[in-house]
């Protein structure tokens, strides 16, 4: 992994989630659902190359539970040991 490679920060609000499964269905490598059907973010700092796929998940979420923003570079380095 290249040091300082741009990453996204993805958060999901489980109190809003209605278990529609849209995110888990279009981007299973990023999103999952727990036993109760609520969203679980599997990869909170994905590669920025996933931007458009993540945006699609944001768009499809029927209750606006998903948020994506560019991650602070320090976050990415910290998490991924770049």
């Amino acid at each position: 992994m290249v040091s300082g490679e741009p990453r996204l920060a993805v958060r999901a609000d489980r109190t809003r989630c209605c278990g529609s499964g849209n995110c888990a269905s279009i981007l299973p490598e990023m999103f999952d659902q727990d036993d109760e059907g609520l969203v679980v973010v599997r990869e909170p700092y994905p590669d920025a190359g996933l931007r458009s796929a993540v945006d699609q998940a944001v768009l499809l979420c029927p209750v606006q539970a998903i948020e994506a923003s560019p991650a602070e570079p320090v976050d990415a380095r910290f998490r991924f040991g770049g």
């Binding site: 209605c18 109760e36 606006q64």
Partner: protein
Amino acid sequence: MSLPAYPMQRSDPYGIPRQLAELAARGPVDRVRLWDDSTAWIVTGWREARAVLADNRFSADVGRPGYPHLRPGFRGSRLAAAAGGAGGATMLRMDPPAHDELRRLLTGFFTVRRIATLRPMVEERAAACLDAVQAAGPPCDLISTLAVPLPSLVLCELLGVPVADRPHFEELSVALIDSAATQRQLIGTLRGLSDYLEELVTGKEKNPETDLLSVLVQGPVRDGRMSRADLLGTARLLLTAGHETSASMLSLTLATLLRDRTAWDFLGSAPEAIPAAVEELLRFHTIASAGLSRVATADVTVADQIIRAGEGVIVSVEAANRDPAAFEDPDRLRLDRGARHHLSFGYGVHQCLGQALARVELQVAIERTIRRFPTLRVAEGEGRIEFAHDRMIHGVHRLEVAW
């Protein structure tokens, strides 16, 4: 000038009513007149439809004053009525927070992963339906042999209807979607269904298994998070929301693919294109054609119009699904367009709980039918296809095929 009457007459099974298209072309929010001379807002823009459906200031409670009723009596709004008509409200007509509490007891059964484990079962049931088509020989009606029974068989499996009860259950669920039934017959059917579900739940209480009803009986019902009335209402909702919808969508899908041989042959040669095609078919034939009804509980501005508290709103998802701002050249069926943002399963907290299951049913039915009968065609002669324009849910009565 008087307001246009709603619901509007459909003349082309592959299009939306002409008057609705005209209304949508004038702007995203407008007004219509209902059967009882009351008026309601109608939302036809994709962006505005999402805004209304995602806004909890719009209530789905059919009992609230101002809620737009599309026809007299419970024949009116089939989804709403069948769900709320015979005893107790169901989540479909409840608002948060009560809605969310009830829905959360169910979402675990409908996750993408959980539903994926049901795919082999759906394939097996589809194969059995296609065996029956084969055995019947041409000309054979695909609606009564495949489109109607498949979703019913899948629901039996999900709810845990014992094999011995299936003929009775199927009879009830077919009667429930029989558009020729009188109101009286329909009430009788709903009563029969309530009685049957009561018996089914009692059975699960005595001998729980691994199906959805048994799990609910042993968990949330036992520990008091779900009342028995809510359990019965939920069982009824799953049947009413999960049968006619899937059956209609499957019928329209088959009719559409048989009309366009290139589509049939394309999906036969490229089954990996089926999931995307299903999304486009869902968009193209928005079967909740009567729209999704809500009533404002506060003054809300939508596209510069102030919708006052107490006023009814009809979100025309079929018009929104043909909004050129969201779908280029919307009247054309383009199987690979990427139509996943359609509103055919609704939007907001009520977005279809069974959508993953509906997708699997449609994907499996298309794949299996094409594989088994690659040369399938509409049978020669008059009257082989009869569309159902008379229902609140858009569908097909008869589709006779040969091969």
